[in-house]
Symmetry: C2
Subunit: 469 residues, 2 copies
């Protein structure tokens, strides 16, 4: 019967120490979301496959975890019809899986959110500000830092086009990383400006090729970016239009001003772009708000930022840690038609997602977890026998009801073993109450790191609480 137990590859157990760090991250983010009036929702882990399929591209469909129908899933299926012609034992797994699986595990929180909004549109008051912190599942090949089950922390508002929403998301990022004491840079772009760039160089249909190339500028340099654009079919004249954008520098106002000139038809092509100008208006309004409210971290326009190009239609956000090398730790943007796929058109939304796993690595790497986070129990009472126990129990109860996490070692055993327990659990205070203390009606408590020891009357709860601070 004995088996060596293990867990599926790409999944993880979280013990008390990791949980403490993770909960610190989730609690901090959650508390900030709440002060901005965002309310939590949760959706089921399983969605109908019809809700999920086709929303993440062909590759995404393959990465969905599918759930076998319960009951007699495999009967009444004409397997021979699914055999791939000319083979003996190759079958069409894609088609067969649709026959035996109707449900899948959610792949992200965005599609379930869109489904939720459409399904509950009559109960929701718009603009609807929601956050959602739940795991998602992807059948990706597991590798360092990439898991098959991981949490997403999404915050979105839907039903409002105001740039105030974009501002609030920037403020939320600013506040969260201020609380984490991590230096970040918040990069902002606008999809409409990217569209405008493609328009003024005369290749509106090549917006993806152009931005994918520009996105690599930090890695490969300007010349290589220009070469890639030429390879994708851009003429030398078109590349000349884009060149000033590649070398754009200066303050936000200076960047916006140069871009406004180009989008107004002042580039060598002479083409102007309404859409590009609208994107610049949005950025200008957003940065106006940012200036008036004050943001602690760096916020900059980054015209090479091109994430989520397939669905974002306005602002695009990305956050990077400045003192720790890891990819983006937070990102998002505005999407004008998120719920259209479920039959509710013209709902504009904007949101960001915090990458909890990467933030965990950053806080750990920079040693930024507060020390209280790592210890769970504050005070251990040694177990000296049943008389002492009966003396202690009401005191311990009072301390617990005052919010102090404390334990009585459950077994009456060697003190060495009890000390070891305190040590392994990083419990900072220890109390040994024996017959003498019981007789005198006192409680001795020792601070295990400073060595300081004090004695309190067993009714002096405030004195004990102060000592445990």
């Amino acid at each position: 019967m004995a088996q060596k137990p293990s867990i599926p590859k790409g999944t993880r157990d979280f013990g008390p120490a990791e949980m403490a760090g993770r909960n610190y991250i989730f609690d901090t983010i959650r508390s900030v979301f709440k002060t901005y009036g965002y309310a939590p929702i949760e959706t089921p882990s399983m969605e109908n496959l019809s809700t999920l399929l086709g929303k993440y591209g062909e590759e995404g469909d393959k990465l969905l975890f599918r759930i076998l129908n319960s009951g007699d899933a495999f009967s009444r299926i004409p397997y021979d019809d699914y055999r791939i012609e000319g083979t003996e034992d190759s079958y069409n797994s894609k088609a067969l899986s649709l026959k035996v699986c109707e449900k899948g595990l959610r792949y992200d929180l965005t599609v379930p959110f869109a489904r939720f909004v459409v399904q509950h549109q009559n109960e929701i008051s718009f603009p609807f500000k929601r956050f959602q912190i739940q795991p998602v599942w992807r059948a990706d090949r597991p590798q360092k830092g990439r898991y098959r089950e991981f949490y997403q922390c999404d915050v979105d508002v839907i039903g409002s086009t105001s740039q105030l929403n974009e501002l609030e998301l920037v403020q939320i990022v600013d506040r969260v990383f201020t609380l984490f004491d991590v230096n970040v840079c918040i990069k902002i772009n606008d999809r409409k400006v990217l569209t405008g760039m493609a328009e003024i160089c005369g290749f509106p249909e090549k917006v993806v090729d152009i931005t994918v190339a520009i996105d690599k500028i930090d890695k490969i340099g300007i010349e290589a970016v220009e070469a890639e654009m030429a390879e994708k079919g851009l003429t030398p004249e078109a590349i000349e239009v884009i060149r000033p954008i590649l070398t754009l520098s200066g303050t936000t106002q200076e960047k916006l001003s140069v871009m406004r000139g180009l989008m107004s038809g002042n580039s060598v092509s002479g083409i102007s772009s309404e859409t590009g100008l609208k994107g610049l208006d949005e950025l200008e309004e957003l940065f106006g708000f940012i200036d008036s409210v004050g943001i602690r971290h760096d916020v900059e326009i980054d015209l090479s930022l091109a994430r989520g190009l397939n669905y974002y239609t306005g602002a695009i956000f990305e956050v990077k840690a400045k003192d720790f090398a890891i990819g983006s730790i937070c990102g998002g943007g505005r999407y004008d038609n998120l719920t259209g796929i479920f039959g509710l058109p013209n709902m504009s939304g904007v949101g960001i997602s915090f990458g909890a796993d990467r933030i965990y690595d950053v806080l750990k790497g920079l040693d930024k977890f507060p020390s209280e986070v790592t210890s769970t129990t504050r005070l251990l009472f040694a177990n000296m026998g049943s008389d002492e126990l009966k003396y202690l129990l009401p005191v311990v109860r009072t301390l617990r009801e005052a919010g102090v996490a404390c334990e009585i070692y459950p077994e009456q055993t060697k003190l060495k073993k009890q000390f070891d327990y305190a040590d392994k659990k990083s419990i900072p205070f220890l109390s040994i109450v024996g017959g003498d203390e019981v007789e005198r009606g006192v409680i001795n408590i020792k601070n295990l790191s400073s060595g300081q020891q004090e004695s309190f009357s067993k009714d002096d709860v405030n004195g004990i609480l102060n000592f445990l601070q």
Copy 2:
């Protein structure tokens, strides 16, 4: 492309109002667990099927949600070998599902906990006190109050046989329902006493039959219970031994004393039971602790309590609400060999599980959710245009950093619409700051339920905070 979206049967969406209630329950339970020194863990949603199969009986195996292997799951399978003899299109679904599914969704938190303890035994310091609040999945037929995805809140200690652990669990229940302001009755039994009952009546092998019959006493009465025992093969003499137990009444001490007599050989059979006496010793020690610490709710010995008979080996717990008709809202017990199935024998543990869905129904039914729980945002600032916005933004930021949940309505639109939004979200305070207030440097705030209105200097954060209390 438009589809009418829905979710799989037996699953639920939770909107902001339900989430607020649910989080209140989870946060309360979690905070109590922590004061008792229990630390959180989380395990993956998916376990290997080899971990889960055979742990919940044959019925349980059928209720596991299985996850299709990713990739080409259906090729290289000789389907003809799985056809049920004599049929054309009936296949052995059980065997086929094992070929194409290696993983399943967890069915409870106990088996994953046992697997966790064995897998991480070298990192854990015992006694190991853990709690775990995560969803579980069961392919049960959905019905009122029974879902295919629901949360369990388990708290267990493993690696200690002390009755102090049982006491702590009783205290945790006592504290949680005191905080919820719900009257409960905590019923306690001991599996060893049930074993003893079967032994002293001369039918040790019929312990399950006997306790299943006794369990029905409230519903069907003494005579029917005796008839059922006779039907199961108990002799009239055996039933005579059990009769005094069926009519047992009085204080805990009186009950224990009668039982001690019976277990010592003073019944009509003259048979004594070591195991039964050991169970009584445990109960006596536990109730001794309970007396010395003081429990606010009713705690009673209930010898007809027989839940989880297949795995509990010591204490058995059940909690019922006294003022609301619903089944057990909390239950658990001690199991002496939980981790044996995974190769780690002789680990005794005791734990309880809180039924979050039922507790939600009780709190809702008794109207016990605190009023703060239902509102998320405290203060709404009306949107009167961009000049007012720039004036407000720094004030709003300060309030949020002081922990006040506030919102600015994102669009500059009719005030009626903005008021409706506050109303629908049950926001209790409203501020309308127009050009006049900007000029005077003040913030007006109105308490929407009392009608009281006050004006504050925009820098008077403490004044505003006090008013919002």
